[in-house]
Symmetry: C2
């Protein structure tokens, strides 16, 4: 992604003061940092792939549909992302012997290795993103964000959680 600037000369006052606008700017900044990081050290992988690798490493092998439900990624997008991961030998698909229609996706040792490398990239991005805040402010910021996100979130797929 080519670094969204999103801001130029300061938005109109009625917009600049809005929380939704500020959140949008912050997210644009975060997305820019992330995609720069992935572009530099990610071998063409992006957020989708990182989320899927992380889910596989933390929760173990799963079917594609389960992966989609757990990560909030659409089934069709899971398929596409897994194709790219599989072509790099970072995950392996195998047919479930019980349900022959289902694929069991497993993360490979190379996948874990790449995941750990991406972890460091993402950690570096966090540091850059939160740089203007002190440690106490970062805790506050995360706490407020969590409060907003937890209290809300329409939560559509609440199956098997």
């Amino acid at each position: 992604m080519p670094t969204p600037h999103h801001d130029t000369c300061r938005a109109p006052a009625r917009i600049e003061g809005r929380a939704t606008w500020q959140v949008g700017r912050a997210q644009a900044r975060a997305a820019g940092l992330l995609s720069s990081g992935f572009e530099a050290h990610g071998d063409g992988l992006r957020g989708y792939h990182y989320r899927l690798l992380a889910a596989l490493e933390e929760w173990g092998p799963a079917s594609q549909a389960d992966l989609g439900r757990r990560t909030g990624i659409d089934r069709s997008d899971v398929t596409a992302a897994l194709n790219e991961l599989e072509s790099r030998d970072l995950v392996a698909r195998s047919v479930d012997p019980a349900h022959r229609r289902r694929n069991i996706v497993t993360i490979t040792p190379a996948g874990i290795e790449r995941l750990l490398a991406l972890d460091e990239v993402v950690d570096g991005v966090q540091e850059a993103f939160l740089a203007p805040l002190t440690a106490a402010q970062r805790r506050q910021f995360l706490a407020l964000l969590s409060r907003i996100n937890d209290a809300q979130a329409p939560r559509i797929n609440d199956a098997q959680c």
Copy 2:
């Protein structure tokens, strides 16, 4: 926009704790609320149009290129959005007598009226978005966001500010 859920069952822990992830979730929520609001009371208008109307009302008539620079919207997108605003008689284009290549865009009384109506929609969204926070927490949240956004922001177009 059909209400992004983005979250399903809690992301992997290594992602859930990241500030960039939380900001993304918050922004997804904000965008969903905004597009719901615009969809319900906006007569087909969206963020682009609101930003342009606000810029015109606050800074007065301007050329399309200036509008683009001030709002951070690309020239080509400004053209498209202005076409829709003009077709609703919310703005008027007139050729600058000095620079015959330039259009002077003016907000019409109907445009101001619509802008005020959209202001209320957007205000309602802010309220919904910040609902889980107390007044003091909202101030903190905005202050932290401003600190992050102001300290950073690569600022590419810094001309005439």
